[in-house]
Subunit: 405 residues, 4 copies
Amino acid sequence: MSDTVNRVVLAYSGGLDTSVILKWLQQTYNCEVVTFTADLGQGEELEPARRKAEMAGVRPEHIFIDDLKEEFVRDYVFPMMRANALYEGLYLLGTSIARPLIAKRQIEIAQMVGADAVSHGATGKGNDQVRFELGYYALNPDIKVIAPWREWDLTSRTRLIEFAEAHQIPVSKDKRGEAPFSTDANLLHTSSEGKVLEDPWEEVPEYVFSRTVSPEEAPDTPEIITIDFERGDAVAVNGQGLSPASLLAKLNDYGHRHGIGRLDLVENRFVGMKSRGMYETPGGTILHLAHRAIEQLTLDRGAAHLKDELAPRYAELVYNGFWFSPEREMLQAAIDHSQAKVSGTVRLKLYKGSPHVIGRRSPNSLYSEKVVTFEDDQGAYDQRDAAGFIKLNALRLRLLGRRDR
Amino acid sequence: MSDTVNRVVLAYSGGLDTSVILKWLQQTYNCEVVTFTADLGQGEELEPARRKAEMAGVRPEHIFIDDLKEEFVRDYVFPMMRANALYEGLYLLGTSIARPLIAKRQIEIAQMVGADAVSHGATGKGNDQVRFELGYYALNPDIKVIAPWREWDLTSRTRLIEFAEAHQIPVSKDKRGEAPFSTDANLLHTSSEGKVLEDPWEEVPEYVFSRTVSPEEAPDTPEIITIDFERGDAVAVNGQGLSPASLLAKLNDYGHRHGIGRLDLVENRFVGMKSRGMYETPGGTILHLAHRAIEQLTLDRGAAHLKDELAPRYAELVYNGFWFSPEREMLQAAIDHSQAKVSGTVRLKLYKGSPHVIGRRSPNSLYSEKVVTFEDDQGAYDQRDAAGFIKLNALRLRLLGRRDR
Amino acid sequence: MSDTVNRVVLAYSGGLDTSVILKWLQQTYNCEVVTFTADLGQGEELEPARRKAEMAGVRPEHIFIDDLKEEFVRDYVFPMMRANALYEGLYLLGTSIARPLIAKRQIEIAQMVGADAVSHGATGKGNDQVRFELGYYALNPDIKVIAPWREWDLTSRTRLIEFAEAHQIPVSKDKRGEAPFSTDANLLHTSSEGKVLEDPWEEVPEYVFSRTVSPEEAPDTPEIITIDFERGDAVAVNGQGLSPASLLAKLNDYGHRHGIGRLDLVENRFVGMKSRGMYETPGGTILHLAHRAIEQLTLDRGAAHLKDELAPRYAELVYNGFWFSPEREMLQAAIDHSQAKVSGTVRLKLYKGSPHVIGRRSPNSLYSEKVVTFEDDQGAYDQRDAAGFIKLNALRLRLLGRRDR
Amino acid sequence: MSDTVNRVVLAYSGGLDTSVILKWLQQTYNCEVVTFTADLGQGEELEPARRKAEMAGVRPEHIFIDDLKEEFVRDYVFPMMRANALYEGLYLLGTSIARPLIAKRQIEIAQMVGADAVSHGATGKGNDQVRFELGYYALNPDIKVIAPWREWDLTSRTRLIEFAEAHQIPVSKDKRGEAPFSTDANLLHTSSEGKVLEDPWEEVPEYVFSRTVSPEEAPDTPEIITIDFERGDAVAVNGQGLSPASLLAKLNDYGHRHGIGRLDLVENRFVGMKSRGMYETPGGTILHLAHRAIEQLTLDRGAAHLKDELAPRYAELVYNGFWFSPEREMLQAAIDHSQAKVSGTVRLKLYKGSPHVIGRRSPNSLYSEKVVTFEDDQGAYDQRDAAGFIKLNALRLRLLGRRDR
């Protein structure tokens, strides 16, 4: 593979790092840079990114700023929510799930503008480089990938800023000192890691949080909401039908207000080290719990338990960047097959940091009061069947017991 | 198997149901009844059980009242906690885990007193009959099992009470009407189900709860505690070393005060139906979360992910009553193997219904600030390695992409 | 559920046992019996079944004799072959896979003729009763099921024959003595169990085999065949396109001639006991191996390994009778998703009891001589990437080693 | 990590490649080379390796030639056999399982002689580099690893031979042309790959095989043998007690004579590509089948099925080089726990390329003729229990059917 690059599509936030990368790519590869800025609901103005790209000499028709919020939630967040995926039992995968979409769009733009390379601003120690690049390669096996953080010699903050200043890249005041932590944000979550968080014994300082009030600051009165599901996906909040992105935004509002979805985690990165992160997933935390609740009523036990056994693997695949892999797609096919009847309504109480399911109902409920009741069930269930059921389940244990005990 | 029974060991709580069973066994089988009452931390006086048994004609030396609290927590709750077991993603298995111990002790007593049968008061619709009886059969394949609820004709509350009155069994006032719900309790949890809980859309009334204050009633100020672990088991709270049962009791106090560990669940029973239960697991909820936190620091990724994949199966086995099965023991062997270095301290904040991990440290930590830092790591990690790592992970996806896309 | 039955659809082979059942049903339930005889390729004349049913008084329009061979192979055997399912590592599930189809057709006929019950001739110790009845209940939850072997008092061979003679049911001479073993057959396999096979230390006598010559009797010269696959299913043998059932029949011919597919197995039944069976699966054994071979070339590693991990579960579900269950369907969805490119040709050598794969090719091959070659690969693979790949895979082990060794 | 190396332990076969590496290490790193040659039963004279090492200037006390055959079979092959591990359903992992032992011994020698580096002759495209190096790093996280094939510029056979000749390294005649294939051998197996095998459609030529006669050349009369097992491990053949390595050698003799254990496989390498290999595992193939047979009799279903589900993962870990990983050890703990009663005798018939199990017996048998018999079992099993068993297993499917069908 030659090192010559003609045109590169850069995942560009408009921030200091990717602005430096933009310039560095132009200089180092003497190539044309195409910028792509995704609106994934990170809550930032994107027009400044356009101006900065223009100032850096990017051709206007090569500045892509795309609102991908609906696609993000509909085609990435929701399928993952159907899986009840939690990485290492706790993490809702907010960063992981955004990367494949960015990668996919970069490859599409590369195709459109005839670029032969793509680039991103993820560092060489993290998972995001893997997620971006596995996405790139899966979707275009012959694309050239440039990962400046693994190539350049701007290995300290000071040198990065020197480079920026030498190239008229504006450096805001708060970037000059040492950033106390770094963040990633999208409609699903905000993550924070590094520096002030690096001692896992120390409590995360309150100023790190941006998407939720602290539970202590949350209202003293619980709030009750309902979420409607259809075929495994949330479609309405409090009876009001909403598009996927609007729905998640609405749940984010609720989660923010009640301090819901903070997670302090030490996790295992795919690249082999442990890191400590703070995640805020306000709406996603509510959604995850509500999805489980509606499944409780509408999923058969066999389907539910199979899903529970597949979920850790699914989560690992998403975390490691294998979204566009046959095995993730196979698991998704199994999971989606199970969701045909996962419809109904869940009631939740939001209070001081946590959502609590307090009710669920469904036209497809498999719960039968008639069968389960302690009262006379009029023959719906014959208790004597249990004797044979137990006897045959016990048979192998008895044969074993006769041999061993 | 003949229907003749000479002596039967009954799991006897002293309550109305098992008192009726005691009498019914004497009458129906014309046999001697041995009562066994376990103190598993259910928080009830057990001496009344002795008096009632005596009144029913049980020979004093055949009345067994055993304090099993330490054995319960040490040999049942703690091994399960090492597995991070959650049934259907949420339930900490408080009822399930007590049954095998009761069964084991009944079989031991049967051996001691030369009984040829055992009996229990679990109904024919629930999981507990399965758990008891699989335990019995595994430990004594030739024992005779009597499950009165599947045999007798006392199929309504009214008839049960008539029987009681006809046999001078005291019926307390509150048993006369319809019980609004039924409960099971031990040191790990209290469960409630039936009647007033049978509509899964209706919120559980506050009067159902007995082990926790409501989050709304919990203190307005968070409380911070620490838990020390050694080899996967909790050994101290706030630096104070405690026996297993004392430790769980201490955490129950904290959980009670802060409204921690309530769970409203619709679950899939092993016998094939869905039921709705309310669980309160105050200390166990704190313990579960803390165990995960100390594992985050001390477990290798390979071990952690394998555990996560095995946990749903383990939980299913415990729930279904297969504690004394080779496959549960095999999983336990794998899990226990992983816990040798799971030692250290976890800090938690308890507040308004939820525990929050805010710090963890360990002499066996695998977390390395030196490796993970965004700052200069002085060669601890070579970022260029990531390029090859990604390339080879991507290779199969690229070959696939060349073929398919 | 009342015991009154008006019309029952019986799975009827025309043999002694189901002929007795036919009469017994008429007598015991005083009901109309509808017979259903499936041609699944068991290689028996089915018209005698019609005559016998007529003689027993079954109305001609209530005698169903259906050729289900194509449906059997296309919708049951082939999907299972896509899964590479082997029960307990060895058994190709020939009996298990036929039961759901018979159950499905019985329920369809019951619907057509307005029957309120179904019946089968499987005994109370085996798996087939479970497979039939789970199929019935899944497809018609309210059907009444009659399992004569669990109900009647014809508990010995002698009494069965007395009943037959008393009711003018013809008893062939070879049925009068003790049958040396019992069999089940269909296009996929013949199974034999019981009596002469009951000592698992004794070699199965040669006269038990009916579908294969013994390897010693097979030709001294190997025979080479090819099988073409499309999307995971075999479609041609030696280049000749064949329907599913014809193809399996053709492979059975080859397997028969070369003594392929005999299996002497001690297996674990779902009802809790071990049994010893002899299976002959001539064509299926060839097909299973060939399918693996074409997958080797066309399946990505991620898909292949996920399939390998799911296969034991899939096999267990089929064996236990859960064909019509959500979890089997979920696994099938995952498996089928993986088969889109599983097309190509496999060459096999058949010789003295075993098939040997000797070549495979595919237009969708993922095997790349260019990448794998020991010779100069002209940059298709950069060996230096392996260094980084290993380094990052080793990182967690090194951190572990520093702590522990 | 500095590039300075003082003393390096080389895995040295005495062949051309590692002889070139020996010299290249001395020259390139200006360091002292320690050679380690393992006798793993590859069937080669090892003393020539000593002479060659001496000629290359290695100090006599730095030439290690160790007979590791017993350790290899006892601590690596047998534990893997207990797992019934098959990579991708077919491969008995003969190469994979030897690498960790070589790595372990190299690290031990490095410790003894005070070496700071280790080196091996595996190429940059294969799995063996990964297996060696993961072993090295797991056992000594700070060891320096030199993989000449990834570093040097001897990228073609011609240049390698030129280097050899320039340094007085003897080059045998048959190495001068292009090797038609490359091999690896140990007591468990011989593998062949490359060149003449690179077209997976072409049959492997007979001259590639070295460990087995062709099935066609095998005796026309079957041979019957027995293997005794104790606690999961083979301990005797035909009643004769043998050490692990002697036993495997004995089975290799049988397998060789009967043409057993040839496998033509296209497999997925850990480094991301597919390769085609030919494996001969004569004794291992017999052993694998025999172990399954003795487990059939002595393992409970729950244990057996759990093992079957874990086996693909275990095999993948061994194949990928993660022998010294917590997760492989966890799986081993589970597997070993299951083997306590896996004792008894298996009878096999060896004939024309395949072993066939024809009988098995055990003092720990769980098979019960009394329970399984078609004849009167005198109450060992109550067929009516099956009704309840099926009813409760069907309950969820019926509730589902009522909702959906």
